[in-house]
Symmetry: C2
Subunit: 196 residues, 2 copies
């Protein structure tokens, strides 16, 4: 019989340590703001060594990006009903609900601000959040394209920015304008355009 | 004969003082970054009194927003050829050229970052830049709508964010992806949508 990993020298399994660190980072990010997400505080709160935290996330930006992904991912999944427009409407409703909640709004606005003065933070957010989310969405987009719901020559990069990018931008300049109706208008118009 | 205003007690005309202060603020913003746009530095550089600078722009954010508008406005005018799509393509080309130049990129990214930690800076940017630019664009949009080039039920707020908002967002997370081709895709897709 294998001795459970935990028992060997009392060390916790890697995955458990990783989860504990990320949960601690997410709590700090959502409850206190990005300036509180430091290796020191995460290590203390998660009860893991600072060296371990540094090993997995060399920068505080990388830690914040993955913590944001961890917390938001389950809420932002794109449904797959076979009706792409409907799936987008549902997802956008959830997205707006998430990013307008004060803790998530503080988290994402803090991350985007930090990314403008610290290039490693920007790169960490791009690699640790933007690209993973983009890849998930691209699968749904391509399915809709193969299924004939999306034009063959549609531009995926423009499309995602015209939905979620537009919403993030408005959140940065006029958070009160980010409403369910606004989200719905983004979805409908990204699908149909405005031309007569 | 009227004595020119300048001669009376050696004071410069109000408009000239205002222009000097704004030009100084724009130089600081574009050349050095938003953290250099302070009432003190602007007053010294423009040769005007600090009290005057404070009177017109109560916060550094207000000063930065109007300075950004002053510098970018002449470059961002929407042409009026009668062909809305064509006008947007031309404007978007100029917009991408502007925001990808290092000084303007630093200026706008700095403003958007500052707006996330300082609510007066956000409000100043909204009132001093976002809303004035939105109003200018809305006139062109309504003309196109009346002329039958834009659908009667098109949503203007969603539309502007799907063009310029999308672009700003991408500039914040992945500046290298903001290219002329990307800008063109945004325009075409905001007009026609992606649905089959």
């Amino acid at each position: 019989m294998e001795i459970p990993e935990r028992r060997r020298g009392g060390r916790r399994p890697t995955a458990e340590v990783r989860d504990a660190a990320l949960s601690a980072a997410a709590e700090l990010l959502f409850d206190c703001g990005i300036e509180q997400v430091t290796h020191d505080r995460v290590a203390t709160r998660a009860g893991v060594s600072k060296t371990t935290v540094y090993k997995w996330w060399p920068t505080a930006g990388a830690l914040a990006a993955e913590a944001y992904l961890l917390r938001s991912e389950p809420l932002l999944e794109l449904p797959d009903s076979g009706d792409f427009a409907e799936d987008l409407l549902i997802q956008m409703q959830r997205f707006v609900a998430l990013v307008t909640e004060p803790p998530a709004s503080r988290a994402i606005r803090g991350i985007l601000a930090a990314a403008q003065t610290d290039d490693t933070a920007r790169e960490a957010f791009l690699q640790g959040y933007v690209i993973p989310r983009r890849d998930l969405t691209e699968r749904a987009f391509r399915r809709a394209q193969h299924g004939g719901q999306v034009r063959a020559n549609a531009d995926f990069s423009a499309f995602i920015d015209q939905l979620w990018g537009a919403c993030y931008y408005r959140l940065l300049v006029e958070p009160s304008a980010v409403t369910a109706e606004y989200g719905e208008a983004l979805v409908r118009q990204s699908l149909t355009g405005i031309a007569q």
